[in-house]
């Protein structure tokens, strides 16, 4: 395999020499055979109605959800209208007033534990469907999405009867009906992040899945039915942006929890201005992943790969701006090129796939447009020559060198497998550049010196900072942003506060 290396329009010279290709022979000695995860154990309906008041309710309109890896239709799902949303909110309100707010914490915990346990039993099925509907590698949905989603239910189930210890000496009560809108990058996991704390605190839920990834939420609805959760405590809808706006604007919805783009976050804030609705927003990011010259370089390379190519870069906390200390920049770039060659891009259901399909045609176009802007602005692009499938939405893992803060690719959230490599000379410069963005969700710091880590952490304005690792999540650890990356925290004790009047 060789590298496609395209100098940008300005023809600036590449700062690095040719990479030595270690495995230069044409025919590999040993190739991995396809190892496809079995699909025969999953059950999917051809058509999913809305899950309202504990029952499946027909909608007027339906739309198809496709597998982005082969563009084949998987199922049809309901598109919730204004009346449907109203029905769901009324069901949630009724369940809140008559049942859920009256239950003791211990009783609520029992239900949440039950959901978690049934999810465990169906973990493989959930993982396969998540991968089919969203395009992410099965390795990730099996190893990250599903187990973490389950862990969130377990974690918050444990809190349900211990809330007085979370807020000692304070009085608190649930909020009521909460409206939750989640993105397409981690559908089941984001649902767990939102539903679990809401239920633990005694609220009832109306949640809407993203347009391209509705299926695992409806599988969750089946699990909720199996767990015999009282009718109406969780209502699950699918639909596009207008469905979301009906939820946001419904007068009986007392709190909005939204994860998605900064653009939509701003619209939500505008539309609820002047109301008494509470809101938490988890929005975009353009995280700085900072590599110092004294960093463990090989592990930092893994951190860069994990930071930007995990889930095809469809991660709000993706480490999309790589800041490398200038003294090790050529070494890091060289190693990064070598590492990119070994990334396996292809069938998401293959257990050896590292990078799967782009979630949708729309997203693919957006990524392509931004990458083109990088080329047009004179940045140097690197992509491995991997073979991409004919059908489906695909984008090669990409990184740019010869980039500056002023390039669009280094400013805009791309939400794809595209990394901008930037450089710095001193810690002060690293902090300045890392903070020089409207976003502030996450950051990574790589150095062998503990003192440097503490100094950086205290000065970088980001909600989550990892040191010598990246993209690590735990239900006990709060997650959320600074600045235009949103406000409010999900996870941990902090996450409870967002679902209570304290």
């Amino acid at each position: 395999m060789t590298f496609r290396e395209k100098p940008g329009a300005s023809n600036r010279p590449s700062s690095n020499g040719e990479v030595k290709i270690v495995s230069g022979r044409s025919k590999p000695v040993w190739e991995y055979a396809p190892s496809t995860e079995a699909k025969d154990h999953i059950s999917l309906k051809n058509r999913y109605d809305l899950f309202v008041g504990g029952k499946w309710v027909k909608a007027k309109k339906y739309f198809a959800t496709i597998n982005p890896a082969n563009e084949k239709k998987i199922a049809e799902v309901a598109s919730a209208s204004k009346e449907d949303v109203n029905r769901a909110v009324l069901a949630a309100d009724k369940a809140y007033k008559n049942v859920w707010s009256k239950l003791s914490g211990k009783e609520r915990a029992k239900y949440i534990f039950r959901i978690a346990r049934i999810m465990q039993e169906k973990a493989r099925e959930l993982a396969v469907i998540e991968t089919m509907d969203g395009g992410k590698p099965i390795k990730e949905s099996k190893g990250v999405d599903v187990p973490l989603a389950i862990a969130h239910f377990f974690y918050y189930a444990g809190w349900a009867d211990k809330l007085q210890y979370a807020f000692p000496g304070k009085k608190f009560s649930p909020i009521g009906v909460v409206g939750q809108i989640i993105p397409w990058n981690f559908p089941l996991l984001m649902a767990a992040w939102k539903i679990a704390p809401a239920l633990a605190c005694g609220n009832t839920v109306v949640i809407k899945s993203a347009e391209t990834t509705p299926l695992t939420l409806y599988k969750l609805a089946e699990i909720i039915q199996e767990a015999e959760l009282p009718y109406g405590v969780v209502n699950i809808l699918s639909g596009a942006g207008d469905t979301g706006s009906y939820i946001v604007n419904h007068p009986k919805v007392k709190k909005i929890a939204f994860t998605g783009s900064t653009e939509v976050g701003k619209i939500i804030l505008r539309s609820i201005a002047g109301t008494d609705k509470k809101v938490t927003l988890e929005l975009g990011g353009k995280a700085a992943n900072i590599i110092f010259e004294d960093a463990p370089i090989d592990q930092a390379i893994e951190g860069i790969i994990n930071g930007i190519y995990f889930n095809q870069g469809h991660v709000c906390c993706a480490g999309s701006r790589l800041f490398v200390q200038e003294s090790v920049k050529s070494l890091v770039v060289k190693k990064l090129k070598q590492r990119l060659k070994t990334l396996r891009v292809g069938d998401p259901l293959d257990k050896n796939t590292d990078v799967g399909a782009i979630n949708s045609k729309m997203q693919l176009n957006k990524i392509a447009e931004l990458v083109q802007s990088g080329i047009d602005e004179g940045c140097t692009i690197y992509q491995p020559e991997c073979v991409l499938p004919d059908k489906g939405f695909w984008f090669r893992p990409t990184f740019f060198t010869n980039t500056a803060q002023s390039n669009r690719i280094a400013q805009d959230e791309i939400f794809g497998p595209v990394l901008s490599v930037l450089m710095f000379r001193t810690p002060k410069e690293a902090i300045e550049k890392a903070n020089n963005t409207p976003y502030g969700l996450s950051a990574g710091i790589w150095t062998d010196k503990g003192s440097k880590i503490f100094k950086m952490v205290s000065e970088i304005k980001a909600g989550i900072i990892w040191s010598n690792t990246y993209n690590k999540f735990n239900p006990a650890s709060p997650f959320g942003g600074f600045k235009e990356s949103g406000f409010g925290r999900e996870g941990g004790v902090h996450g409870l506060k967002e679902y209570l009047q304290v």
Partner: protein
């Protein structure tokens, strides 16, 4: 950098290793799913890379003779199964091994240099190497003086490897770091680079006499050192994890590590070995299982 670089070149290598990250990466590579034809290929490849080893006080001519037979001819009725790469024995058994293996293509490796502790005077260790080569050893598996290394006498480590390499003459030199005694990955990386700078043809994890012996993360750290050394100097060095590799699953995980860290160039017995004694029969059992779909009883696989 020059190939004839000396110990001062150590400074041009980045030496920090993060243990958590290295372990995570190794675990992720070990999670590769190897099925069907690729599994059969991997099994055959692994067999061809084995240094079939016996290093016991009770080793005798009879024992070594039998082991050599097994090395040349691992199993009946499977013409596609290759012979192993080498037999690994103590110096006193080299002659028997050499005689038995004559013309088979299976190499004779001998441990030497005061194996396994290395706690003998350097002169005696050098004499042992010369003797082993004289007896006909194709490959010498030396141990470094871990005491000197841990004291920070890196010059000593460099010089001893260099001296032993010279004593080897045409024989290939594998340098055992005994990673279980070096303990940290920083040490492992540093020792790997020193050994390579001093002329090692292979670097090897362990003697098999100290726990832990070979592990996936430690092997990964050494493979990365080999890659960086190649990138810096252009010289290709081989790798041998040894000790504790018992199952086909383990062996395949090691192959995945090599493939994705160094590339296919290294997937040859010339550059990668597995030091093991019981691994061979598990590979044979899995090979038969892939061919017939059935697991056979251990009684169908010979113990030599």
């Amino acid at each position: 950098m020059n190939i004839n670089a000396n110990i001062s070149s150590l400074e041009s290598f980045h030496l920090a290793v993060d243990e958590v990250g290295a372990k995570e990466r190794a675990a992720s590579l070990a999670g590769r799913s190897i099925k069907k034809q690729s599994k059969v290929t991997a099994i055959k490849l692994a067999i061809s890379m084995i240094d079939l080893t016996t290093l016991e006080g009770k080793d005798s001519d009879g024992k070594v003779y039998a082991l050599c037979q097994k090395a040349m001819h691992p199993i009946d009725g499977e013409p596609e199964v290759p012979h192993v790469a080498a037999i690994c024995v103590y110096p006193n058994l080299i002659k028997t091994a050499k005689q038995t293996l004559l013309g088979s293509g299976v190499k004779v490796a001998s441990v030497a240099t005061g194996f396994p502790s290395g706690q003998s005077p350097l002169k005696i260790r050098l004499d042992e190497v010369k003797k082993a080569v004289q007896f006909g050893a194709d490959e010498i598996d030396m141990v470094i003086s871990r005491g000197e290394f841990l004291e920070g006498n890196y010059n000593y480590t460099y010089n001893e490897v260099k001296a032993i390499k010279e004593a080897c003459g045409d024989a290939h030199l594998k340098v055992i770091l005994e990673t279980g005694e070096l303990e940290t990955f920083d040490n492992v990386r540093k020792a790997s680079i020193i050994a390579m700078l001093a002329g090692a043809d292979f670097i090897k994890t362990s003697t098999g006499k100290v726990q832990p012996a070979a592990t996936l993360p430690v092997t990964l750290v050494m493979l990365e050192a080999i890659r960086d050394f190649y990138n810096e100097t252009g010289r290709i060095v081989g790798m041998k994890p040894a000790g504790g590799i018992r199952t086909t699953k383990d062996a395949i995980a090691y192959l995945c590590l090599v493939k994705e860290t160094l590339g296919d160039t290294w997937l040859t017995p010339n550059l990668f070995r597995l030091g093991a004694s019981t691994l061979l029969n598990d590979l044979l059992m899995q090979y038969r299982k892939e061919k017939t779909g059935l697991y056979q009883s251990a009684d169908y696989f010979t113990n030599d």
